[in-house]
Each structure stands twice: as structure tokens, then as C-alpha cells.
């Protein structure tokens, strides 16, 4: 109180103000809160106020100008408040000047808790700052925040919370031979308590350091020992840190030190995890996470309550901290590394009863329970920017510890060269000129140490013989099992975008809702739309007016992606165009557009890939990959060349007008279908590899016309270049006509592999079933010769299978002249001068080769090279200098 009064007296001498004054101008230093009732507030000096609960505010003030330093506790409320009516309205203007010579003393407004600005026009060129427990709110009509700094955090990740996973204290038996003197230090099994759901607890047993991947190779294991000894006194402390066993290469450093530690007293182990991050200004900054354990120095233990996680507990000996600056711990130096001591080091007998303290804790990446991310909207450390008319974030530097809201529904002027980071955000922006570029609006990830750490600290004493006598020795071992990450992906709770044309360069990981009121959307190669939740995230509903979608980046959905628009009645409307040169992945995909072009990759898990368009162009190098799904294409005109259509089930085509097809190789696992035959075009350069599993009936429906045994049947009849029927035990490949009259499939070359090659006593193919009205005309038939080669049996099957299998002499692009000898595909590794793979095989005359590779991690076949046989060599060899570990190769041979 005395200080308040004295400071008030000082402050009163430095400004001029009065009831209803025109101006309040501070050119000096104000250190206590005056009552200001003035139309204009100007601070050119230092203005520091402290109020008890509510943020400091002003009466009747329309214009705020700050060129100096303002510091408020708990903060400021810049708006126009009428002193006696209770009504608040927007102020007219809020201006915070640029830094000038120093941003410490110029254009700086800082609040510990609340910095609330409500003004028609807001211009910020300086720094507006609240702490990690604060809220920075800027609301108005025209917000020009370009070149300024907005901060809602003290340090990187400050305010992160800790959620108890399990906890326990008690006694058990420790055997150093098993639990310490090992390459795999493992705690004794110990009882702990955990909380399954809020309010329900159970007891279980835990081992902290277990045989986790990586620990055997030890790179993740960091250990330190401190042995303090004088005369007959000795204290032994060891720390084992299992640092990210599942990802030991993470750029997360661990350092262990001891605070104190003497021959008669344990020290306090200090574990310091550190990782390099970047601050608001873009400068490198090191994040630290510290753990201290006082169990050795004070084994009298108890639990303390963590209300945040629903009345859970933690042993009080453990303490984590995420300090603003690196901490300096001075103690006895510990031995570098850990050396297995002699058995006598542990005393006799080695197994002893120990006190233990155990705790497993989840260090959340924010200051709330992130299992409910929408709580971010209520969490401290947040920034809210709402501009009714315009918001300009170009060159702004914004850092919100937890949450950022950007709302500029009328006109968002952009954020070019801005640095904006927040763990969670809501984006609601629009444009009046029809052009909106979303670039540098959000950083894709936030540097923040978070994850799970499990701890077990053991203390015991034992009789040990040293220095010529048996003495009592104290032991303290701390086991630390940490699985921490240093970067957290930024996530958007809700995204609303309104503009005729939108270009997205940023990453958006959307967890709650998406509303794209956009005609034309282009996702640049750096752009990502990741729909992380199945709830409320339905592309067609979320982007109902979209006409043209161009994806050069990535679209990810956890459910079906439906690329079509909706009219006012909710009915489906086709896009004008869908052009994918990037990556699209989802559980299922449906696209309906006048023009569909795919040169990128479309991955689907369990649904289907369904493309419907007047013109569908599947270009060279593109992918339609369905892990357990069908690929169905309905097109007026279909062009498909070197397109990797690899469904987990069937391929189905329905083409009305024309089919233009280049070389293709399509493996199918549930048959293939032609529901509607195009007027023109064939699949003469396409090979379909038709797998049939044991006991499976593989159904096919084909709309090719039965023109009889004539070469004319191979033209404009969707004739197929090659068909591989690869059957298993009792596999049946059934073909039916699509009607309405007789149908037939014309194939230049038919390969019968494994179970598909079985022929009965009458010479019929056992695994082939051609239903009435359906015939299969072929140029040649080959069977596997059992030695890796192929034997032609063209003539022997002519007229078999009830006359439905008919030979028509015809050569297409993929036809082979004769039987193919074994190719003997080999891969050898040359380690020097640099590792490379040599892929070789026996040359095949007149052949064309397609060599594919697949990296184990990627799981997708990709064309490595294709070329025609030279005819001058008996062996073909290809060198792969870019090989990586776990690469597979596959060779396809065509012959003509």
C-alpha cells in the first residue's frame, strides 16, 4: 500500500489530465495507475500500471497512441468506455509505433495477462506482448499489423502442462546384476497406480526401462555415475536415461549432472534435454526441459496432487521445469558414461530391499489437455485478431504459445514474409478482390519438447568391503525412459476461407471444420490440406462452390474425399476441372468433374477411387493406388498412358466416346470390368495382371462387342494388349458379357500362370469360366514353363471351354513372337566407389523392358527405366546409383 501511494504521488506530477480532457500526454514516467478521462491518450514515455484484478482501462478515450513503453499488470483494455453507462464501444484509433532505436523503449505494450484492443483502426508497428498465461486480443475494422510483433508467450513452450500417467512409491527388491550391471538396465517390476478414465484408478506393475527398440543398440542410452568416497564413507549415484529409444536420432540432446553429492550425502540428479528452436524474431533459441530427483537426498516421500489432469498424483521427489533460460547446476562432476563395476562394488548380498519412487508423466505440448484440442480456444497464451474490414499481416511476426485466431472475413491483405506460429489456430479469412494467397500465414510446426517420460528412482544401502573394511554404502539409481519430440505440428481447429481464387502455400492440419467458399483453389507444391478428423470434415460439403481444384501439393483426408460441388439444394454439381499433380490420400475418393487430370498420386485405403468426368486424362507417371479398394472410371473420353493404376480390388471402366491408351501395367486382385465400351480406342498397350486367390471366383464383366474370330475385333473394341491370369488353388476366373447382345474380350497375348494354367483331360482351362454370351478371342497364349520362362500353347486351347476360347491370329504392341526363355533377374551390390545396385537379366529378342522399383518405406512401385532390347547382348544390365536400403525391383517384358 505504501509503495502504491508513493508511486501515485510521483506519477501525478508527470502528466496533465482532467475530467473530460482533450489530451492525456505522458512524456515522462508513470509508475502507478492514474484515472484517465480524456479523448486522446498519448504515451511518449514510460507508462507502467498495476491493478488488482481487472485490466487497466480508460474513460471516454477515442484515440490511443503509444510511442514509448507501456507495461500493465494484469494488463490494458484499449477501447472507449463511458464512465457511467457501462457501455463500451470501439475506440477510433489505436496506434503503436515502430521500434525506433530500440524495441525495448519504443512502441512496446506489454501485459502480464490481458492486452485487449478494440478500435476501428489499429496500426501496430511495434511489439504487443502478453505472457504465456495471457490473452492478446485485437478487434476492430481495419487492422494493419504489418511489420509488427505480436507475442503471447514467455518462452518457447512455456506453460506446458504435465499429466500424470501413473505413480507409485514403496519398496521392492533390486538386484544390480539384473537391474544395473547390464547393457539393458531395467527396473524391478514395481507397483504403480494409474487412472484409466477420470476418477477411476487401478494398480498395475511397470518396468521403466524395458527392451524397447533401440536400446539394444544403445545409442539411446545415456548413463552417468557419481561415486563420492572419503575414508569409510561412500555414496553411489547412477542415472540411466533411455532417450527416445524409438527414434534415437531425434535432435534432442541429453545432459546429466549432479547438484551436490558428498561421501555422506546424495546429490540431486539433473537431466537436461535440449533442442534448438526458433523464437518470434526468427532467431535460434534452445529449448530446455529439466528434471530433478531429490529421492536420494530425501527418501521420505509423499504424493502431491495434480488437479489439472483430474486429481492425479505424482511423487514429490520429481520435478520438471521448462525454464525461460538455460539453468546452471553446479555440483560434483560425474563420471562420463557408465562402467560396469566389479561385483563386489554392490556389496554382499547384492540383492537388496530398496525404496522406490515411480512416476510416468505426459508432458503435453500445450498448457491444457491436448486430447481435447478445441480447449485451445480457452487456453492462456493466445492471440485473437478480428478485423471486420481488413487485416494486414504482411511481414508480421506473431507467436502464440497456445492459440491464434485470425478472422478477416471481408478482406485479408495477406501475410507475405510473415513469421506466424501457433500450436492451434482458427482461420477465418476472405477477400474482396477475389484473389487470396495463403502463404506464410502459419508455420507448419512449432518447436516444443513434449512426450512421455517414465521414472523410477531407487534408494538402498548395503555392506560393501572397501578401504580394508566393510562399510555401509548408500546407493541411488535413477532410471529415466523418455520418448520426447522436439517439434509439434501446428493444427487448425477451424478454417474458413472466402474468395473467388485462392492459392494455398501453407500447411493446414485441420481438426474440426473446414469451409472453403472458393471458386478456384490451387494448392501450391508447398501447400498441404490435411483433414485430420472424420467429424464435420466432408470436402464436398466443406467446399460446396468449388469449380476448379488444382493440387500441386498434398490433400489428406481420414475419410472419403468427395471432389464435387453442391448446389443450393444439396445436389451434386461437377467441378469444371480437377487437376492433380501432387498427392491425394484418403480412405476413399470420389471425383466428379468435367475435366480430370492426374499426373500425381492418389492413394486410397479401403474405399474406392471413383473418377467421373467428360474428359479424364491419366498422365504419364501418375498413380491411382488403392490399398484395399476398387478403381472405377466413368468417362466420356479417357486418355491413359503409363499410369499406375493399382487397385487392391478391381478396375472398372465405363467410357462413352474415346479411349486413348499408351503403355500401362495394371495389376488387379478382384478382376476388371468394362461396363461401357467407348466408340473408339483400345487398350492395345496395356497389360492387366489378374490375380486370383485360392478358392476365389474372380468376376469380370466386359462390354467389348463379339465381332467373331476376325482381326477387326481388335480395333476400336477395347481390345487388350496382354492379360495375365495368375490363379491359385481352385481359383475361377469368370467372365460375363455386359450385354445387351453377345460380348467378347479380345486379347493379343494371354498368359496363364500358376493355378490359371491348369488344363483338364479334355484340354479345357479349369480356372476359366466364360458365361453364355461371352467369348475370349486371343492372339497367343503362354503358360509358365516352371523355369521362369514361358511356353506358348496357343493352338491347343483354340475352341476349348465350350468353344468360348477362340484363337484369332493377331499381333499387337505387346505381342511376343515366341516363347520367352527364363530371364533370370538378378540384383548385385557394388559397394565402391559408392554403393549402387546392378540389375541384370537374360536378354529377350525384340523385347521392350520396363524396370520398376519399390522402396520398402514407400511401398509403391515406380518406373525406374524402360527401353527396347538392343539385340546385341545376351544380358541386359541397369545400374541404380540411388539405391536405398530395402529396395525391390520388378521387370516387365513386352515383345513384338
Amino acid at each position: 500500500m505504501k509503495q502504491f501511494l508513493l508511486s501515485l504521488l510521483i506519477g501525478c506530477t508527470l502528466f496533465r489530465a482532467g475530467a473530460g480532457s482533450s489530451f492525456y500526454i505522458n512524456n515522462g514516467t508513470v509508475v502507478s495507475a492514474p484515472v484517465i478521462d480524456a479523448t486522446n491518450f498519448v504515451n511518449n514515455g514510460s507508462f507502467t500500471v498495476s491493478t488488482l484484478l481487472l485490466p487497466y482501462d480508460f474513460s471516454n478515450t477515442r484515440n490511443f497512441t503509444n510511442r514509448g513503453v507501456m507495461d500493465g499488470f494484469p494488463g490494458f483494455r484499449f477501447d472507449t468506455a463511458f464512465p457511467n453507462t457501462g457501455q463500451r464501444i470501439m475506440a477510433a484509433n489505436f496506434y503503436n509505433a515502430g521500434f525506433g532505436s530500440s524495441f525495448v523503449s519504443n512502441g512496446s505494450v506489454t501485459a502480464s495477462s490481458q492486452l485487449l484492443i478494440s478500435a476501428t483502426n489499429v496500426i501496430n508497428r511495434g511489439a504487443l506482448t502478453v505472457g504465456s498465461s495471457g490473452l492478446l486480443s485485437i478487434q476492430g475494422k481495419n487492422l494493419d499489423l504489418s511489420r509488427g510483433i505480436l507475442t503471447a508467450q514467455d518462452t518457447l513452450g512455456s506453460g506446458q502442462q504435465f499429466f500424470d500417467q501413473y505413480w507409485g512409491i514403496g519398496t521392492n527388491r533390486i538386484n544390480p546384476a539384473l537391474n544395473a550391471v547390464s547393457t539393458l538396465p531395467t527396473t524391478p517390476a514395481h507397483q504403480v497406480i494409474s487412472q484409466l478414465i477420470k476418477g477411476f484408478y487401478f494398480t498395475n506393475r511397470a518396468n521403466v526401462l524395458s527392451l524397447a527398440p533401440g536400446i539394444g543398440a544403445t545409442p539411446s542410452l545415456v548413463a552417468t555415475q557419481l561415486v563420492s568416497e572419503l575414508d569409510s564413507n561412500r555414496m553411489v549415484q547412477i542415472v540411466f536415461v533411455n532417450n527416445n529409444p524409438f527414434n534415437p536420432n531425434t535432435n534432442l540432446n541429453v545432459a546429466i549432472s549432479f547438484l551436490g553429492g558428498t561421501p555422506t550425502e546424495f546429490g540431486i540428479p539433473v537431466i537436461d534435454w535440449s533442442a534448438i528452436g526458433v523464437d518470434t524474431t526468427g532467431m535460434p533459441l534452445t529449448n530446455h526441459l529439466y528434471l530433478t530427483d531429490t529421492f536420494g537426498s530425501n527418501p521420505t516421500n509423499a504424493f502431491i496432487t495434480n488437479r489439472l489432469s483430474g486429481v492425479t498424483l505424482q511423487p514429490q521427489n520429481f520435478a520438471f521445469s521448462l525454464p525461460a533460460a538455460p539453468q546452471s547446476f553446479v555440483g560434483n562432476p560425474a563420471a562420463a558414461g557408465y562402467t560396469d563395476p566389479a561385483p563386489t562394488f554392490w556389496g554382499t548380498p547384492r540383492t537388496a530391499t530398496n525404496l522406490y519412487s515411480a512416476w510416468s508423466v505426459n508432458i503435453a505440448n500445450a498448457n491444457f489437455d491436448t486430447t481435447s484440442p478445441t480447449l485451445a480456444r480457452y487456453s492462456p497464451g493466445r492471440i485473437e485478431i478480428v478485423g471486420d474490414k481488413s487485416v494486414d499481416l504482411n511481414l508480421a511476426r506473431i507467436s502464440a504459445n497456445t492459440y491464434l485466431k485470425i478472422e478477416s472475413t471481408n478482406h485479408f491483405k495477406g501475410a507475405s514474409n510473415a513469421q506466424i506460429s501457433a500450436l492451434y489456430s482458427d482461420i477465418n479469412i476472405g477477400s474482396t478482390n477475389g484473389q487470396l494467397k495463403i502463404a506464410n500465414l502459419l508455420s507448419p510446426s512449432i518447436p516444443r519438447i513434449s512426450g512421455t517420460v517414465s521414472l523410477y528412482s531407487a534408494v538402498w544401502t548395503n555392506d560393501v568391503f572397501f578401504n580394508g573394511s566393510t562399510n555401509r554404502v548408500g546407493f541411488n539409481i535413477l532410471y529415466v525412459d523418455s520418448e520426447l519430440s522436439i517439434e509439434q505440428p501446428a493444427q487448425q481447429l477451424a478454417v474458413n476461407v472466402r474468395s473467388t481464387n485462392v492459392v494455398l502455400n501453407d500447411t493446414m492440419n485441420i481438426v474440426e471444420s473446414l469451409n472453403l467458399n472458393v471458386d478456384n483453389l490451387t494448392i501450391a507444391d508447398t501447400g498441404v490440406i490435411n483433414l485430420q478428423s472424420a467429424d464435420n470434415l466432408n470436402w464436398a460439403v466443406n467446399a460446396p462452390h468449388l469449380k476448379n481444384l488444382t493440387n500441386n501439393g498434398s490433400i489428406v483426408g481420414v475419410t472419403v474425399l468427395d471432389f464435387s460441388a453442391r448446389n443450393a439444394s444439396g445436389q451434386t454439381v461437377s467441378y469444371q476441372s480437377l487437376v492433380n499433380a501432387g498427392s491425394i490420400s484418403a480412405t476413399g475418393l470420389s471425383a466428379d468433374a468435367n475435366r480430370i487430370v492426374n499426373s500425381g498420386a492418389i492413394f486410397v485405403d479401403y474405399g474406392q477411387i471413383f473418377l467421373r468426368g467428360a474428359n479424364v486424362d491419366l498422365q504419364d507417371g501418375g498413380y491411382l493406388y488403392g490399398y484395399e479398394s476398387d478403381v472405377t472410371i466413368e468417362a466420356g473420353n479417357l486418355a491413359v498412358t503409363n499410369h499406375n493404376v493399382w487397385p487392391g480390388r478391381a478396375i472398372s471402366l465405363s467410357v462413352t466416346n474415346s479411349l486413348i491408351s499408351g503403355p500401362n501395367f495394371w495389376p488387379v486382385y478382384a478382376g476388371f470390368n468394362l461396363w461401357k465400351k467407348p466408340v473408339t480406342g483400345d487398350l492395345a498397350e496395356t497389360e492387366i495382371y489378374d490375380y486370383g486367390y485360392d478358392y476365389a471366383e474372380v468376376l469380370h464383366t466386359w462390354a467389348g462387342r463379339d465381332l467373331g474370330p476376325t482381326p477387326a475385333g481388335f480395333t476400336n473394341n477395347t481390345a487388350l494388349g496382354a492379360l495375365d491370369l495368375d490363379g491359385g488353388l481352385y481359383t475361377l476366373f469368370t467372365f460375363s458379357g455386359a450385354g445387351p447382345s453377345s460380348n467378347a474380350l479380345y486379347v493379343d497375348t494371354l498368359y496363364l500362370l500358376n493355378g490359371a494354367a491348369e488344363i483338364d483331360a479334355d484340354g479345357n482351362l479349369v480356372s476359366l469360366n466364360l458365361n453364355p454370351g461371352m467369348k475370349l478371342y486371343y492372339g497367343k497364349i503362354f503358360v509358365d514353363d516352371g523355369n521362369g520362362g514361358l511356353t506358348e500353347i496357343t493352338a491347343s486351347l483354340n475352341g476349348k471351354n465350350g468353344g468360348a476360347l477362340v484363337n484369332v491370329p493377331h499381333d499387337g504392341p505387346l505381342s511376343v513372337a515366341s516363347s520367352i526363355p527364363p530371364v533370370a533377374l538378378k540384383v548385385s551390390i557394388q559397394p565402391t566407389p559408392s554403393p549402387r545396385a546392378l540389375i541384370s537379366w537374360n536378354a529377350v529378342p525384340k523385347a521392350t523392358y520396363w524396370l520398376y522399383y519399390m522402396d520398402a518405406a514407400a511401398g509403391n512401385w515406380q518406373l525406374f527405366t524402360n527401353f527396347a532390347a538392343s539385340g546385341s547382348s545376351s544380358t541386359e544390365t541397369v545400374v541404380d546409383s540411388n539405391m536405398s536400403s530395402g529396395r525391390f525391383y520388378r521387370l516387365r517384358i513386352g515383345q513384338h
Binding site: M1, L5, G20, T51, L53, N84, P380
Partner: protein
């Protein structure tokens, strides 16, 4: 529910701001299950319990009279009555509840402001505390305290039954919001005395908490809960919503007229009453027990005080009573003779509260309110009922005080200063400090030098003149 504790925690955490949804809590005499063990009047300072919808209590007279006794006038003087008049002016300025907009957007969700000079001096706003007390005496209690409240508690295994007694003024469904601030809860056990409570927790700690004026006198510890320097500029949306629920003309309840009501005898309401006035409906041909709508608007008027006689002037209040009989709305002219105002404001030494802190204010609790459940259907309920005249608003006249507490503050020169009555707003006008004649200089001197007479009149309070601005015109 335990607001003082929560406020202190909030003060430490430094939180605030606003939101969207809203709600209110009716108040009445405690239900049988509302025991101290589960947080209802555990310390003896509460006014009543939170009522469910349909069990609310209200005034059923359109004009309520208030007046200051000599103790109040002596202690607070004209400046004090002026401050109180501002509180009543806020209530009188409310439109008829039937004319309010459906969603009450015309009322702010936050009417709390701070006068930093008053905060520094530790002044408590007389107008704001009066406004808070009057909202309570109009039938509302703290919605923030009873957003979540215990209905039952079982010891073994420890089980709490938690209900809501906070209602949205538009939809009338139970709500977790008060003036847009969202509250969740956690059951807590308190010691000395032992009781349990569902403690409200702000979901967003940065929203402005405890915004309702009805919360101003809902403190668990019987003291004001406005922080020094803070003051209300008016009622919030939720306060008004609660009053609208109570007093809307479509809220029919069977009620008796307040005691002393008789049929009006003449056209002049200022005629001195003849005799003491009987209170029987039969002798005066007035319908007492009847189905009545809410009065739509309550007007507060000052009773006239004769400073020479030191007593109120007896007068008769005549008004038109509306009731329903045989499905027909009827009216009757009713009069009541007031020997003293319905609401009396006094200044007293109110004793000591928790932690040795002198009580700052006290008001008549709801125990005297009449429960008309027996008149309103078969089910056994805890209301509805009628608030009765005879309410007293008591203000502390202890004056400046200091708390010396072991071990840290036993030094006479390091006391913790107590709060002082004041009157202030958002202008740069110097705050008025009570008791009358006390000045900022006095206060500063006493704080800085541990006491002293300063420039004040040292306790020779002048009895203010009776130039009260109010009249008794109906």
C-alpha cells in the same frame, strides 16, 4: 461456489474478459436439503438458497419504498445518500420487463470497471454494493456460485450429486454460462468448518469472471466480494434476465398481498392513514390470495425522513393490484400504510467475519420471505413465494481498520489496511471517502504513518440536512 477462495485464486492467476451465453439464479429460503454440510450457508452469512424454476420469490407490489435512518445519514451524509440514489436510479431506469428485447442485447455482459485511484486507496463503492444488495433483495442470488451446486453428498464411497441452478433467461434451460463465461466444476471438501461444495472453474481463465451484479453479495464469507476500486456501471444482461423471469406479467403465481394491505380508501395516497390499519381482507373487501402476474416493473422511491423528529413520516401507498379470478384479469385499488420504509438503510458495527475482518455489509436474509407453495398446486416445492417488506441494508460504520497478523505483520508500522467505503466512477473526479468528511489525505496519512487525525473532523459527524432528492409521489 466458494467465491472468495476462487476470487483470490483468480487474482493470483490474473484472469479476465467476455463471451456469449448467459443465465441467472433465483433465490429463496433454504430448501430442506440445502444444508451447511453441502455448501448452503455453511458460515452463517448467506441470504438464501438457489431456487429452481417455478419456486422463485419476488415482490408483488409495484412500488417499494426505501429510507435512511439516522445512523446512515450521520455516517455517510449527503454524499452517501447520493451514492445510494445512483444505485436505485439504475434499477428505476430499467424498462418494463415486458418491453425488453427477447435476447436482452441492449444490456452489456460486463458492467464492472475499476477506478485505479480508489483501488489504490482500498475504497469499496457504496453504490455498487447497494446495487448488489438490492438485486439480492429482488429475488436473485449469485449465478456464478450456483451454476453448479451440490444436491447430495455420500461419504462412503465419496459420491457427489451435482445439479445446476443457473438458468438461461431466454430458453430457461439450465446453463453453464454466466454473461458468456463458461464454468465447469470440481467437488471440493473444506475444513473449519467442514463442508463440501461444487467449486466452479472457468473453462477460459481469461474471460472476465463473476460479472453478474447478483454475485456482488453472494460471497460465501459474508463480506462484499467486489475488489477495492471496482464498481458497477449498471446491471448486466444476466441480472436483467433474472429480473425479467421473476417479474414478467406472464409469470402467474398464487400470492397473498403483503401484510397491511387494504382496499384503498381515498384518492390521495398521501393521506395519513387512519389508525394503524387492519390487515384482513374480509374487513376491507380486498382480494388477497389470488393468481397474480409479475408486476412488470418495480419502482423504488425514497421515503420521507423528518430530520427534526428523527423519524420517517408515516404515509399510505396506494397502487393498482392485478389478479386473475375465474380466468379473468381483474384489478383492485390497494393501499398499505407504511410506518417505515420497505427497505431501511442503516450504518452499524456489524461485527467480525472470517479472519478477523470486520463485516462490511449485511442485509436481511430470505427467511422472512413467504412460501406460497401450499397455494400453488399439490406437489411439495420450495416456492414460489413473496418477498416481504421490512428489509434492512446494514452498512459497516467501523471505519478504517487494520489487520495485524502473526507472524509477518505484527509490526505496528506494517499493518494490512482494511477497506473503506467510498464513492467513485470512471471520471477523474476524486473519490468520495466515507465516513463523511474523511479525505484522501486522511487515508494516506493513516496508512503511511499508522494513524493520526489528519484534516478530518475527527468523528464529529454532522447530521446531514434532509435535502433528499426523492419524493413520495407515486
Amino acid at each position: 461456489m466458494s467465491q472468495l477462495i476462487k476470487r483470490l485464486l483468480l487474482a493470483a492467476a490474473l484472469v479476465s474478459v467476455v463471451g456469449g451465453a448467459s443465465a441467472f439464479t433465483p433465490m429463496g429460503p433454504y430448501a430442506s436439503w440445502q444444508t451447511p454440510a453441502i455448501g448452503y450457508n455453511p458460515l452463517g452469512f448467506d441470504l438464501g438458497g438457489p431456487m429452481n424454476l417455478g419456486e422463485e420469490y419476488r415482490w408483488n407490489i409495484p412500488t417499494v419504498y426505501y429510507g435512511y435512518d439516522e445512523s446512515f445519514l450521520n455516517y455517510f451524509g449527503t454524499a452517501g445518500t447520493n451514492a445510494v440514489e445512483k444505485a436505485f436510479a439504475i434499477l428505476n431506469a430499467l424498462p418494463k420487463v415486458s418491453l425488453m428485447s427477447s435476447n436482452l442485447d441492449e444490456f452489456p455482459t460486463d458492467t464492472l470497471r475499476v477506478n485505479s485511484t480508489a483501488e489504490t486507496l482500498g475504497l469499496v463503492d457504496l453504490k455498487s454494493i447497494t446495487l448488489g444488495m438490492m438485486v439480492a433483495e429482488m429475488g436473485l442470488t449469485s449465478p456464478e456460485r450456483y451454476t453448479w451446486t451440490l444436491r447430495n453428498r455420500i461419504d462412503t464411497p465419496r459420491t457427489y450429486t451435482v445439479v445446476k441452478r443457473n438458468f438461461d433467461p431466454v430458453t430457461l434451460i439450465p446453463s453453464s454460462f454466466v454473461n458468456g463465461t463458461l464454468y465447469t466444476f470440481e467437488p471440493e471438501e473444506f475444513q473449519n468448518p467442514t463442508f463440501a461444495d461444487a467449486v466452479e472453474i472457468q473453462v477460459d481463465p481469461l474471460q472476465l469472471p463473476y460479472t453478474s451484479v447478483a454475485d456482488a453479495y453472494g460471497g460465501l464469507f459474508g463480506n462484499y466480494i467486489l475488489f477495492p476500486g471496482s464498481y458497477y456501471t449498471g446491471l448486466t444482461r444476466d441480472d436483467v434476465g433474472g429480473l425479467r423471469y421473476l417479474y414478467r406479467p406472464t409469470n402467474y403465481q398464487i400470492e397473498n398481498l403483503v401484510p397491511g394491505s387494504t382496499a384503498a380508501t381515498s384518492g390521495s395516497v398521501w393521506d395519513p392513514a387512519a389508525g394503524s390499519g387492519t390487515n384482513t381482507t374480509t374487513t376491507n373487501n380486498v382480494v388477497s390470495a389470488a393468481l397474480r402476474p409479475g408486476v412488470d416493473k418495480i419502482t423504488f422511491k425514497p421515503a420521507k425522513y423528518d430530520s427534526y423528529l428523527g423519524a420517517f413520516i408515516v404515509f399510505t401507498n396506494t397502487y393498482t393490484d392485478t389478479y386473475v379470478s375465474n380466468s379473468t384479469v381483474k384489478t383492485q385499488s390497494v393501499q398499505r400504510v407504511l410506518l417505515q420504509p420497505d427497505i431501511l438503510l442503516t450504518a452499524e458495527d456489524l461485527g467480525i467475519g472470517v479472519g478477523g475482518v470486520p463485516l462490511l455489509a449485511q442485509i436481511t436474509d430470505s427467511s422472512g420471505w413467504v412460501n406460497n407453495d401450499a397455494l400453488n398446486g399439490q406437489a411439495t416445492l420450495d416456492g414460489p413465494g413473496v418477498i416481504q417488506p421490512g428489509i434492512v441494508l446494514r452498512y459497516s460504520k467501523v471505519g478504517p481498520y487494520y489487520i495485524n497478523s502473526a507472524p509477518a505483520f505484527l509490526d505496528l508500522f506494517q499493518p494490512i489496511g482494511g477497506t473503506v467505503w467510498g464513492s467513485f466512477d470512471g471520471t477523474t473526479n476524486a473519490p468520495v471517502i466515507f465516513p463523511n468528511g474523511y479525505s484522501i489525505y486522511d487515508l494516506e496519512q493513516q496508512v503511511l504513518f499508522g494513524g493520526g487525525s489528519g484534516s478530518g473532523t475527527g468523528g464529529a459527524w454532522v447530521v446531514p440536512n434532509s435535502s433528499i432528492t426523492s419524493t413520495n409521489t407515486p
